[in-house]
Homo-oligomer: 351 residues x 2
Amino acid sequence: MTAQMQRIVLASRPKAAPQPENFRFETAPIPVPGAGQMLVRVIWLSLDPYMRGRMDDGASYAQPVPIGGVMEGGAVGQIVASNIGGFKVGEFVNGPFGWQSHAISDGTKVRKLDPALAPISTAVGVLGMPGITAFVGLNDHGRPKAGETLVVSAATGAVGSLVGQLGKAYGLRVVGVAGGADKCAYAVEELGFDACLDHRAAGDARALRAQMTEACPKGVDIYFENVGGKTLEAVIPLMNVHGRIPICGMISWYNSGGLGAGASEGANLLPQVWRNILVKRLSLRGFIISDHYDRFPDFVKEVSGHIRDGRVKYRESVAEGLAAAPEAFMKLLQGGNFGKQLVRISDDPTR
Amino acid sequence: MTAQMQRIVLASRPKAAPQPENFRFETAPIPVPGAGQMLVRVIWLSLDPYMRGRMDDGASYAQPVPIGGVMEGGAVGQIVASNIGGFKVGEFVNGPFGWQSHAISDGTKVRKLDPALAPISTAVGVLGMPGITAFVGLNDHGRPKAGETLVVSAATGAVGSLVGQLGKAYGLRVVGVAGGADKCAYAVEELGFDACLDHRAAGDARALRAQMTEACPKGVDIYFENVGGKTLEAVIPLMNVHGRIPICGMISWYNSGGLGAGASEGANLLPQVWRNILVKRLSLRGFIISDHYDRFPDFVKEVSGHIRDGRVKYRESVAEGLAAAPEAFMKLLQGGNFGKQLVRISDDPTR
């Protein structure tokens, strides 16, 4: 009998928040790599908010996952068979292997990992896509200057936690926004943020804004946008003249039915946002990290140094087994994760 | 009997659109300039949308006009008495003289005009604040490249008409949006725009967007934002990747009660705008022209050249007499003007 692999495919497109029936768990024979291909056993699958966009059919910066297609995702794995020169059996690699236990790859977008330098799981976290997102967004679009105030939403997430820690390294006052007292305590006590506001406990946007006003006595120079919604509504009038808003995500709106429908928190907010952009001469810039991979060497050099020095910490939240991925992903979109969300697909021999 | 001057003061703050009772016409003795002062007879008063903001009490980039204070405004006048070296009786000057027939000035923010170079009224129009606003917004924030598509709202206004003409000079496809068939015909036939859409005739945002999609077959690279509202809603999904939105004004929202209240056209639009900023990696930048007066020499050099060459045309809409200023201003906010809105306060001896 042929050895079997597991995969999770997109069964149907979600109407709002993804439901279990949007995903389907399948088994299939493990494929055999052809010429110029290799077979990778997946170890760590990364779950990230951007995947929600791939489930929709609308115009985006990337093709949607087709119905019946394997869910996309970056992952870390080990080569178990290879017909590609330069990729050897036993080596650890990071690549777009998807929500599955085994992947065929031609080496495109695959990089080799040295397990001696850092735990291999960091290749999809603090030293991978979320990490460079934080690095480029804060540095290139946020243009931080020591003494300024930075507000970062989703503050304990894979991106936000590095944004805030880099902010501290650059001499900024850093105020996080996160959902839950445990996350806020972690941001202040472990990550060294100056303050962290619990948007769940705070209540509505007005109440959150009152807390933010206290936490940011000199106003806000940089708002690192991961969420949209209530946090955006709270922060926008607090922006200082010539403030910067790198726009990295809008997770609170990802499930709201696409182009604004049902996004009640956005009602009537646009004129206020526009007025603040104008009066405060704000710069807003949306960015997609795949436009900026040329910054990878600078990023890895700086952040791996910070990790070695203990200035940057990271936290992983691990779901066990591929079958647990949909639930972990749905929880991630609701802010239920704590730290970089991973799924352990198979044993990590380096741990 | 002392000679009398006339002035218009802010009688009360408007709740939404300004009403006649928000203004009060007063007479007073013509003041006598003290040491280091001069007296200017005002000839041309400029009316501009930004003045609406000065009537409100909210936080803005400038102090509000106090109740009972003279309405602010840039103007062109002639010196009738002077105790300042370098400013002589008979000279023509541009400065913040306000809505009044005579102004005392200490020379701050006043520049002398040479009537031989251009009609003195252009100092508050195409060669003044609206002109440099167009120049800086398009060049420094719009970063135009030949072959790109530019959409400009309020296309026949003092700012928009120069934005579009500069766009043509730079090799862009230029699509204006204006209110009324006569304005649109003027934009295409006189100003040389490639197309101009009549937002009044078009109907709602969806209908306007359909027309804009046809007029911009390659999408929109630069949206020069003067208005907010329906035009913004129409254009935002048409923006191209790496598009730029210089935000110069939001006239359609100025009268909507300040921070979003009653701005029904903005309802539920913010998530859509945010999604487009993110997916298209847009850059948005609010700007206030007083931050950029260092660009004045470059601006005057380039645009006065274009005027001499006939590449840039301008149009003035003249209200007669100070008492006509409030009505002309209220009409301006409704888009009822056509070209740069001036008020002739007294005789222009150069015409």
